[in-house]
Subunit: 761 residues, 2 copies
């Protein structure tokens, strides 16, 4: 601003203001996720890291010996990736180049599982020990994360080992790149352009996945298209597998059960038909010629119109086992979904999966896993856990969590899902009583050699311990120690956890900038389910926005409260499935027009009438409680002991029932809805206080979305209360804002062309 | 790389190599388009600019007077935008901040049209004179472009004035964000999230548009949905209009002709029904309450299943005029598409639009423009111009060009389209003979005062002069000077040109990195159709990739040859409409299964038989030639004088017809296909030579696409020659590679889920 003043009449100058915000490149557009590697601004800290890390040495079982002259030998793609990540990361964080060394461990054993690592900060730098290349890469990501978090090197978390073996994202992506229940643009997989044309985004995706420890991806929708299994597409799948492989990520595919008809030319898909089994065997062999480390099949069968073995009067086990036999020689697995219910069934929908699968326990092959949604219904803002987790003791059980926010605000609302997932994972199923049997007892049981009550390792029967295999002793490769501190051989089983992806082509990957936290949290929990939702939020915020204490505290408050806020303004007190039909966005507690699917109509679930509200699932009702352990059935079956946040899930409760607050149900319900709206407004004010503490770009993005969320919350409150009021016939209590419109308005308001809704128009 | 060596056995270090390419941020991801503003690397040049531009002064009719103390007065959004662009641009290019001054011109007239500007390099900096704010912004973009091009300030192009008034992109975008014939991801318009949530991309889009002088956008598909005209959507449209307005960009919408039924509740859409006319008037008034500067309606009527006035036995003029009357009070226009043909018509499809519209010449309101595709068929790689351009003398004619590469390689093939467009624009229609009448004669004719042969301004009757209004004297606001150098009042008409957009949510906007050149070229030609394809390519490459002479020459060669190469390997010698059904990607010269649309079946066009190949459109055939001026009909109607590149468009030619090369038709055809393949291979080699001269990122992106293009070119050659060989029964001449597969293979090869294809599955 040192230019000479022009001598012209009537002129004035305007200062160059706010130009930093004009940049068209959108530096803070969210693309970098939690892998930012910006220079550490705390200069003493940066300098201390730089001094202490002149080099990093990767020491592992898979490191090649050097060439005859000690020259570098070509490294595996995974180790080259680890090196590049280290160099890029530390150059960004510390501002200088380090030396990366590789060392063979000369055959000495390195303890831990195949994916584990040990970090060691020594006088001449950091060493990363691992048995495998991928363990080294995980070690690199852990080191970089801890440096970004500002953790002193003498207090590094030194050991990393995943608690669950197969940690997958399921993408509900169609071949035309539509993502079912996707709210972040199109599918990342550019099928038309593959295999020749490979988006650089494939590697960035794999990098993000590996950085949080995820190691598998189901590329395509559970509502499957058999074409994915044809050579034209397998060549494309192989290209993606090649892009992902350096990051330790295996590719899996959904298998349409009727593929033997659609692309195989057979007349049947009967799993007991020998031709069908032979076709799947041949097809599976073919897949492995394209993708040698192919992970396996995910199958949605006899569910919501998908074909399945029941079309031929066979069981789910018949179907799964036929495919499992084709995969077994290659080490592949079948993920069989338990999400089944039938419009024609008279049984309470939330009971049907348990009724269907419990009789099959013990009948599945070892390489079959039953993939079970966290709750018995369908990813509601709150559900009890699925009783299958406590029920099926002889089957590998994989929780399916939904990262994409189908019922939780999609990509306009802030809903941090880790608290929901932790709530499920930490719930005690009581499948083995208050605590599980000791490890030795369980081993003896598995061996059929009778009871042995010795030993010390006694996990509770939580869903997490079902998932990680420790409860039923299914973990392979983990270090399982018995009561005498001896390692124990475990059966040839495995463990798995699955999240339905929230990713898409949106520049920031997840649509809502804060929804990145859900992808991150899923990966971190899949690796270690003992992490708390708060600890993960703390990590993610620091990595993604920085460490300003005020910002950190405020954003953590927003994230950690967001799920309960969403429950309050949408489905409080155990209400469920009262969302708009089809797009599942916004309220829709009234009956739907489609009468062929009574179980899609909200009154099926809320049972509102003049007497009260809620589904009676006690013994006097559908008795869904009988599918849970007696302890839980007793606790939840009693209207006085059931947690209020599940009250209306299990009980039909009178409008004037007295709640713990002293208020009657109707007033409590109305005030919960109002509370949800009020909490969104607090989130808005909290967010506004971040102005200047974070970049303008993301500040504005989230601010705009919070405005939409506030309007959405009001719609939820007004629509639901107006509708339920037609039954309660009571006035809104003091403190609840009057609705903006009448009930007819909300019933007529239809959102057109909603994202992620198949067939939306 | 200064770390101490670790004293460990068997270890070796790997150098940190090629890490600059690892950056996850993808700096060269194409997002910045031609607006890069990277620091000028020629240091003396940079320093000379910096010294010569201490400040820029914007002087214009719309600059506000200063406040009482001489303080800055709030500027219009457009001037603020101009200032920000200047500051950002010059800071990037020169590395320093300049001063931006604003000055009123104190009422003195500034010559030129509303959008024109004058640049003046004086001793104390640059002055930009303009009558309007948007003129100033165009001046800013022009200045920045010229500095990026390294043009010395004493040789600036000083005057800028568009030759055509309304310069539009048409987006074929649906409300669900599918883009019909779009190959760059989803629609940029996030309908579900509007109006609250506004992607920063809206402004970046508007900025790119304004930077090349485009000033209008039709937001939605010509295959229209009436919902866009409902208040829910108009609020969203208004938000986009608000984002675009500072950049001088007006919003237009497609109007579904039956909207009065679908959203108006009427029983009819008969344009002569008074209720219908009243509904459109009311609807139009309503739109202007949302968008005060709304541009108008684009209508595809009675075309490919769209409703229209003929459903009620009314003419296209009846329909257009009814809407035009509703728009006229607000200054809006109707763009009526001439793209009509009927499956039931017996007339040659390429004749139907002319037959339909010629009788209506003179019957349209002043604010109606007929929007005519460049050729009489449908955006083929080569067509003659549409005879309507030479025919309709009393109607405003707007060329519709297709930027999206529906028939020209979509987003996998390099096809620079400026040569195609220039070929059309520069073609003489001979509508007024070899040269048009003088301006005074034509003015006299318009006034009905008889002939006056004086005057000097005598444009040729090119399509460009039809489009810019100079041929028929329709230009408003331009400085039209008669033979005595006097300004002349012209009728209340206007001029327009339209390009069908190739933009989408892909990070680089256009899918293929080099397809950005087509967006750029369309804008530049819409502003000034006298620019050459080569000059525009030169500009675009310099702005987008830099000015290395070898790189520049190579890339220019690739771009400028690419369209003819594509013609050679797909539809040489005047062949047309022999692409695959539905997705229009790749070859499909054989008959289609659908027999209800004979005019969708390629044999309708190529007429291959044992005697020869090509459509007879002479007097002995469909006589489409009669729709052209006699000079052209004579030239093109003679097989000896017709340009060979249109030979098979107009003539059915014997397989052994002797071509100019001395070869027979069959051999020439085969060798043209081979030549196309060979030329792609040369493009590949040329591109490979750019390694290191441009960034790796775009280098690899294009290299991968060229590999696909080479495979596609071979498919075209093999499929077409195998098919035509079934008629010619002649061997492939020497020099033509044998086909890779048999004809049945190509006929069976169906591309599934192709992008941009409505209903693809």
């Amino acid at each position: 601003m040192t230019s000479p003043m022009l001598r012209l009449p009537l002129w004035f100058a305007l200062a160059a203001v706010a130009c930093a915000a004009i940049s068209p490149a959108h530096g803070e557009d969210g693309y970098r996720l939690w892998l930012r590697y910006d220079r550490i601004t705390n200069e003493p800290l940066r300098a201390s890291y730089a001094a202490a890390i002149p080099s990093v040495t990767i020491i592992g079982g898979a490191i090649p010996a050097p060439g005859p002259n000690g020259d570098p030998v070509p490294l595996s793609p995974t180790l080259a990736t680890a090196r590049d990540e280290l160099l890029t990361g530390l150059r960004g964080l510390l501002g200088n180049d380090i030396r990366v060394n590789f060392r063979s461990n000369m055959g000495a054993p390195i303890s831990g599982g195949n994916e584990s690592y040990i970090l060691d900060a020594g006088p001449s730098g950091i060493s990363i020990y691992s048995r495998t290349d991928i363990g080294a890469l995980y070690g690199v990501f852990s080191l970089l994360r801890q440096i970004q978090l500002g953790r002193p090197l003498d207090r590094l978390e030194r050991i990393g080992e995943p608690k669950i073996q197969r940690r997958l994202l399921d993408h509900w992506d169609n071949l035309d790149r539509f993502v079912e229940r996707g709210y972040a643009g199109q599918s990342l997989w550019e099928w038309f352009y593959l295999p020749e044309i490979r988006s650089p985004r494939y590697r960035d995706y794999a990098r993000a996945m590996a950085s949080v420890g995820l190691n598998g991806v189901v590329l395509n929708n559970v509502n499957a298209n058999a074409l994915i299994l044809t050579p034209v597409y397998l060549r494309k799948v192989a290209a993606l597998a090649e892009e992902f492989r350096p990051y330790g990520i295996r590719v899996y595919l959904t298998a349409r059960f009727s593929a033997s008809i659609e692309i195989g030319g057979l007349k049947t898909a009967d799993p007991l038909d020998l031709e069908v089994a032979a076709w799947w065997k041949k097809k599976t062999d073919e897949i492995y010629t394209f993708i040698p480390d192919f992970g396996g099949y995910l199958v949605k069968a006899n569910s919501e119109g998908q074909p399945g073995p029941q079309d031929y009067k066979r069981t789910h086990a018949d179907g799964a086992n036929m495919m499992a036999d084709a995969l077994a020689p290659h080490g592949g697995v079948v993920m069989w979904r338990a999400f089944v219910y039938a419009a024609t069934a008279t049984e309470d929908r939330v009971k049907q999966a348990y009724s269907e699968f419990m009789p099959l326990d013990g009948k599945f092959r070892d390489n079959v896993v039953l993939q079970v949604k966290n709750g018995p219904l369908d990813f509601m803002p709150r559900e009890p856990f699925s009783p299958l987790f406590g029920g099926m003791k002889k089957t590998v059980m994989a929780p399916e969590l939904q990262i994409t926010q189908e019922y939780t605000g999609q990509s306009t609302q802030v809903v941090y899902l880790a608290p929901l997932w932790k709530e499920v994972l930490d719930t005690n199923t009581f499948a083995e009583g208050p605590f599980a049997a000791s490890i030795r007892e369980r081993m003896a049981r598995l061996r059929g050699t009778g009871s042995d009550t010795g030993g010390v390792y006694s996990p509770t029967s939580t869903v997490a311990h079902v998932a990680d295999g420790t409860l039923w002793m299914r973990q392979v490769g983990a270090t399982v120690i018995d009561g005498n501190q001896q390692p124990i051989m475990v059966p040839n089983q495995f463990s798995m956890i699955v999240g339905v992806a929230n990713t898409g082509t949106d520049r920031n990957w997840t649509g809502h900038p804060l929804a990145q936290a859900n992808w991150y949290a899923f990966g971190r929990l899949a690796w270690d389910h003992t992490l708390t939702a708060e600890a993960i939020a703390d990590e993610w915020i620091r990595l993604t926005f920085g460490s300003d204490p005020q910002m950190l505290a405020t954003m953590k408050k927003i994230l950690l409260g967001s799920r309960e806020t969403m429950v309050n303004y949408s489905m409080p007190l155990g209400l469920h499935h009262i969302m708009a039909e089809g797009n599942h966005y916004g309220p829709g507690p009234w009956p739907i027009a489609n009468t062929t699917h009574p179980e899609w109509s909200p009154p099926y679930y809320h049972q509102a009438d003049e007497n009260g509200l809620g589904a009676n699932r006690t013994a006097t009702g559908s008795n869904a409680l009988e599918q849970y352990a007696p302890q839980l059935a007793a606790l939840w079956g009693n209207v006085d002991t059931v947690p209020e946040n599940l009250l209306l899930w299990f009980h039909h409760v009178a409008w004037d029932h007295q709640m713990k607050s002293g208020r009657i149900l109707w007033d409590e319900l109305a005030l919960r809805y109002q509370q949800g709206v009020d909490e969104v407004r607090v989130m808005q004010r909290d967010w506004d206080s971040l102005k200047g503490l974070i970049d303008d770009e993301r500040f504005i993005e989230v601010k705009q979305r919070l405005a939409r969320q506030e309007a959405d919350a009001r719609d939820w409150r007004d629509a639901c209360l107006l509708y339920f009021q037609t039954f309660s016939k009571r006035p809104l209590p003091a403190g609840v804002e009057p609705p903006a419109h009448d009930l007819a308005y909300y019933e007529a308001a239809v959102i057109r062309f909603a994202p992620g809704h198949p067939g939306a128009k």
